[in-house]
Assembly symmetry: C2
DNA sequence: CAGTATCCCTGTTGATACTG
DNA sequence: CAGTATCAACAGGGATACTG
């Protein structure tokens, strides 16, 4: 039993054999995409379709403008969200997931399922 | 098309209908379990079997003792890692995933796969 | 409507040194 | 071997007020 025998399901290739936090590791790429408070809630909303700035604010009323803009800009810079400004006044902007952004869907589902299973586990052991 | 029509795959039940960060939301439970720098690397190591403190240090040489202890204690407090002190001198301690901890495995795999798919997407669109 | 601009506060990380 | 104790540095988050 060697300590270097990598688990092929968990670490299928070289990119996962990191020995310190590394932004090029796939796991970190995925984590970076969903990182930050409010991000998964925002993504959940966008998964249902394009949204305007105001619609997001209405859906997440206690999220500050600043953080909302931070999140949207970050997702944009990663190519996960597309920002489209509609001409006219008042200005209207819609945010929509890109095809890459939609690829986060299975991850969000897995997060939910894992969370449920952890909650079930800690319930049965009284934690 | 109602804005209240929840996606049953993404948000299967009431616990996912949160409007602000909420530690009882399954997604947040799962995120909390893997949160923090170094945590996924540590979990990857423990997924391969029980490890002593020194073995983990050897596997992750630039991780400081302080942060390693922080991570292990946090995982312990969530019931994901079991700490076992072996009598004798020098002291030997082994850390192992609990059954609940092992349940994080599909999540780590999904993180890896999502990361790979995001990397492939940004490669093809030149980002 | 859809943002910007500041400022502050807090938690997290990490380096270093020490101990049962 | 397996930690503990301090402390300094930094980044993230949020409140508030203002603008094209």
């Amino acid at each position: 039993m060697s300590a270097d025998a990598w688990d092929r399901d968990l670490v299928p290739d070289q990119a996962g054999r990191t020995v310190k936090p590394d932004p090029t590791c796939p796991v970190e790429v995925a984590l970076a995409a969903i990182a930050g408070r409010w991000t998964t809630l925002l993504l959940r909303d966008l998964m249902a379709g394009p949204r305007s700035f105001g619609e997001i604010r209405a859906a997440l009323p206690t999220l500050s403008d600043k953080v909302l803009v931070d999140r949207l800009r970050d997702l944009q810079s990663r190519g996960l969200v597309d920002r489209r400004v509609h001409t006219g006044f008042p200005t209207r902007t819609t945010y929509a997931l890109t095809p890459a952004g939609v690829q986060l869907r299975p991850l969000l589902i897995q997060l939910y399922e894992t969370g449920r299973s952890l909650m079930a586990a800690s319930e049965s052991d009284g934690r």
